[in-house]
């Protein structure tokens, strides 16, 4: 939290100081009120004149209003700090995540990064707006009030101390009993959710295998565990409010009871002061008790926000593993070259790619085939530096990709990822994405290349809506839009990472034909499963367990590469295995 608070700027510190000044003002006024009450008490006991009651009453009213004004002003400043700071924090997180490579993103997981940028920031904001105010107000009030009643009868002071200790102890015990359970309860809730989600996602299988009862029993177990834990926590927490009121009520009684005894043995000239002391002592006592209560609340709620702060810091302090290059003069255009490249995922024990070398010339198509897990996608991701190689080098246009400026490197590349990502907005926004700069005609052309014109027309044209994650399009349609996005980019190098998998064969063929025509002078690198997708490539690389086991054209490989022949056979079904 403290290292996060370093990110507050000077203006916000100033606001905080002003806010604190007003908090102190408020406490002063709150504690001033009982003093006037003391006066009033004395007058009511017949020691003065009626008019004085009204005057003192007026002072008290002034205090009440003044206190309100102070706390409104305080809240204004702290709300402001909280809102501004959290907005800035969110932006810093957003920028940071934008600069991450896949290595960092996967280390955190996308879901976790999302929570860190949203919920965790909210938590921190909550702590700043309300928590900070309370954290300042509570101890100051307690100390000040103690200071005010210091020097009066010690018996009363003792009863206040007992009430505070009793309350804090009870809270500590209850929280001590319950909080270890909270972690487990969260897990149980997750288990319950998982069980229900499982049932929902496996609906058809469950029905087909008449396994409803089995799943229901499983859910019931999770349900039972959760209920038991909840009950325990609920019953323990039920202790809190009776304990609080016992502390308050007990204190009231103690002060009057003790007062009666003290007054009984007091000298006559002291009785009046003692009596009025007693009346106001209660006010101070209550202020002290509730200040400590506030502190307890902070101690209960702050840990969550502190955890959030830690999680935010983790993101902000992560160094991007891929830094921008200095930029370099390129000797070639549209070439991609791998020189003895090996690659290992962060934290993995083995290389996914070993000693990969090949060169894709401008205007040619290089295809990469291989079984799932053979490293095809990893290979293609090294070109736009989604990951950095761990050995060897990747060159684009004759220059190591690390030397390129990121922006310049990306400008040369159009990439269609394996998993289709669309963004909410309209079709045009998604196709003319980033610095594509296609314009209306470019968009239309790209759509026709990816065989999307027809369905886009049906969904309201290029300004038709795209829902979050493109959920209003089918898998094949989304993939075609992602292809259109690449086609709308005038790049030197086109990368297709298994980008035709959701298309039926006919569409696949049509899209590829159109792409070939459109990207005539550019280099194409295609990762695919289907032989039909790759067979007309200028060079096919066959990958197995991260190494190239064959290269050449389709016909060459059929003769020379057994792995390739096997893949072909499995797809063409010339021989049905019995």
């Amino acid at each position: 939290m403290f290292s996060l608070m370093k990110r507050l700027n000077a203006k916000e510190w100033l606001w905080a100081l002003v806010g604190i000044a007003f908090i102190i003002g408020q406490i002063f006024l709150d504690l001033k009120m009982p003093d006037y009450m003391q006066e009033v008490t004395l007058i009511a006991q017949g020691q003065g004149e009626l008019a004085k009651i009204w005057i003192n009453g007026g002072y008290m009213l002034a205090c009440a209003f003044g206190s309100m004004v102070c706390s409104v002003v305080t809240s204004f400043f702290f709300v402001r700090i909280g809102a501004d700071f959290s907005a800035r924090l969110r932006r810093q997180l957003y920028e940071k995540v934008q600069s991450f490579s896949l290595a960092e993103i996967n280390a955190f997981s996308t879901a976790s990064l999302i929570t860190r940028s949203t919920n965790d920031v909210q938590q921190v904001q909550g702590l700043i707006t309300t928590g900070l105010q309370m954290a300042i107000k509570a101890p100051v009030t307690a100390v000040w009030a103690i200071f005010k009643i210091a020097g009066k009868q010690w018996q009363w002071a003792l009863s206040v101390a007992i009430a505070v200790v009793f309350m804090l102890l009870s809270i500590a015990v209850v929280i001590g009993m319950v909080s270890p359970k909270f972690v487990r309860m969260q897990k149980m809730t997750d288990a319950l959710n998982a069980s229900a989600r499982e049932n929902l996602s496996g609906l058809r299988v469950i029905r087909a295998y008449n396994a409803e009862e089995y799943q229901e029993k499983k859910f019931e177990r999770a349900n039972h565990d959760l209920t038991k834990a909840n009950l325990f926590a609920g019953r323990m927490l039920s202790l809190m409010s009776p304990v609080m009121s016992l502390a308050m009520n007990g204190l009231t009684l103690a002060i009057y009871w003790i007062g009666a005894v003290l007054l009984n043995s007091a000298t006559p000239e002291n009785t009046m002061t003692l009596f009025s002391d007693m009346v106001v002592y209660l006010s101070y006592g209550m202020q002290i008790v509730s200040a400590f209560m506030m502190l307890a609340v902070i101690f209960m709620t702050a840990p969550r926000a502190l955890v959030s702060a830690k999680r935010i810091n983790e993101v902000l302090h992560t160094k991007e593993s891929i830094s921008d290059g200095a930029g370099a003069e390129c000797s070639e255009t549209g070439t991609v070259e791998f020189r003895n490249v090996s690659f290992r995922y962060p934290g993995a024990e083995e290389d996914v790619l070993t000693d990969i070398s090949f060169r894709a010339e401008s205007g040619k198509t290089v295809a990469i085939v291989g079984a799932t897990g053979s490293g095809k996608s990893s290979l293609i991701r090294l070109i736009p530096r989604l990951y950095d190689v761990t050995g060897g080098e990747v060159l684009v246009d004759g220059v190591n990709v690390r030397e390129h400026k990121k922006r310049e490197l990306m400008k040369r590349i159009a990439y269609v990822p394996q998993r289709t990502e669309l963004f909410s907005g309209d079709v045009a926004f998604n196709v003319d994405f980033g610095d594509n700069g296609a314009g209306e005609t470019g968009i239309q052309e790209a759509l026709s290349v990816s065989q999307s014109s027809e369905f886009v027309e049906k969904c309201g044209g290029i300004h038709g809506r795209v829902a979050q994650n493109g959920s209003n399009f089918s898998g094949g349609q989304k993939q075609r839009l992602a292809i259109a996005r690449a086609a709308a980019r005038s790049a030197e190098i086109y990368l297709f990472d298994d980008a035709f998998s959701a298309l039926d064969f006919r569409t696949d063929a049509a899209v590829r034909a159109a792409i070939k025509q459109k990207t005539e002078g550019s280099t194409r690198i295609i990762v695919a499963q289907r032989i039909s997708t790759v067979r007309d490539a200028d060079e096919i690389l066959v990958l197995e367990d991260g190494t190239i086991v064959g290269r050449g054209t389709h016909d060459e490989l059929l003769r020379s590469c057994p792995t390739y022949a096997e893949i072909v056979k499995s797809q063409e079904g010339e021989e049905r295995s019995a």
Partner: protein, 584 residues
Amino acid sequence: MRNDVHFGREVKGILLGCKRYWGIIAAGLVCAMLSAALTVIGPHLIARITGYIEQGLVAGEIDLGGVTRVAFVLIAVYALGGLATYFQQFAMSTAANYLGREMRGELMKKINRLPLCYFDRHNFGDTLSRITNDVDSVAQSLNVSIGNIVNAAAMLVGCLVMMFFTQWVMAFTAIGTTLLGSLLSVILMKCSQRYFNRRQESLAHVNAHVEEYYAGQSVVRLYNAEESARELFDGGNENLRKNTLKAEFMGGLMMPIMTLTGNLGYVAVCIVGAALAFGGAVGFDAIVAFMLYIRLFTSPLGQLANGFSGMQSAVAANRRVREFMEEEELSDESHKKEKLQSVKGDVTFSHVRFGYEEGKTVIGDFSAEIKAGQKVAIVGPTGAGKTTLVGLLMRFYEPNSGRIEVDGVPISSMKREDVHDLFGMVLQDTWLFEGTVRENLTYGKQVSDEKLIEILSLCGLGHFVKTLPQGLDTVLDDNVSISAGQKQLFTIARAMAEDAPMLILDEATSSVDTRTELKIRRAMDELTVGRTSFVIAHRLSTVQGSDVILFLKDGDVKETGTHEELLRKGGLYAELYKSQFARA
């Protein structure tokens, strides 16, 4: 006005829903009232002590015996009050938790009784959130709101009675100032609600943006779209900042106003009381009593407001739970008696028509006769109705007209479970659940270990399962890494373990590479020996050896025959075949 009627009915619904816990709820509510009553007696007794002291000041000696007596009564009152409060919360929390558990269980069972088409129309997240968030919300409100409302109402009434009993002028003073303060806070709440809603909206907006752009972060990077993404984000973020500022500030006014209300009451009571005492109209004990009453009197108003807003969210949540529970279930079939004793495996479709929505036909007049033991391949372009067809066969959906028979018996005259038992099914989505390997294969049915191991090795999983730490009893969760291909093999093993008379394989090899597919195909061939089987496939290579190929397009069978026959015919199938293997 209509809203209020609705509200009342919905609350009644919640209360009726927890019928079984009425006893414990009633006990809780009695405790709530008891605790309120005991709480309002407190100040009166404190005032009695003050009275003794005041008299003593005049008389020169305080009746300490009297003070002690009252003090002990007070101790008893406080202790009993504390107990009553504890039991109120204990009872309400118990009832709420049991109710929550019951509701979750009911919802879960409901999932399995709803027709599949419900889930075609509603996403999982929605249903899940009904089971978790909405149920929690209902249970929470029972736990907190109902108890609090009763307690606060009792306290309010009790306070009023006690205040008037003590001194009517001061009672009016107290009520007047409190009402003034409450009025202020109600107005404030109404005003701030709008800002809170706006903040919620802009928060949701920013969250959605972050979710989307984090998931697509690589694409943003690859297309140099950081700048424009950031602009979009900044717009939303600034909006959120502004709305947060307004909402939090308005919300932040609440506390000061509440405090002011309390303070105003305190001051007013003190001054008016002191003035009265000055004239001798009241004793000082009344002032002390009112100083305490004023605190008791302001808190239930807030409590009531909280209670009702809690009820409001509970009502909204309960409506969603109720909607789900009231969804039409699959028809009851306990009366259906037809059951096939020994299954031959003849399957007949006659004039089957079906559409997921009215007016949108997916299958139009489908007829086919399949002989026992035949391998039937269903092919055709996406959206032709292939998966729908097997869905009808499994009775996941009911045809709008026409009938499907197995061995001459209409499947609509059998129980759904019995129809399911006729088929082993391997589905498009390779679904494994968190459970042991054994459970995943058998679902608790009795299958011997030897048999299971045999099946697993047939599916090419024998080695994999042997390497698992506990073999068949290893729990398949995130710690066990299973590839997509292995998952698919598992689902085939599952169908084998079921050993049903007929088989349905729906795109069973779509998510694996072609060499793994070879393994799978070998396993599937093993599976289909001697059984009527239906195979749906994108890849025509999978279906070439079938006895019958049904070429589906737009819900109709366009062509029927073997692979060779259809190729010779040179129709749609031949064209599709060529496109798969032709050079692009």
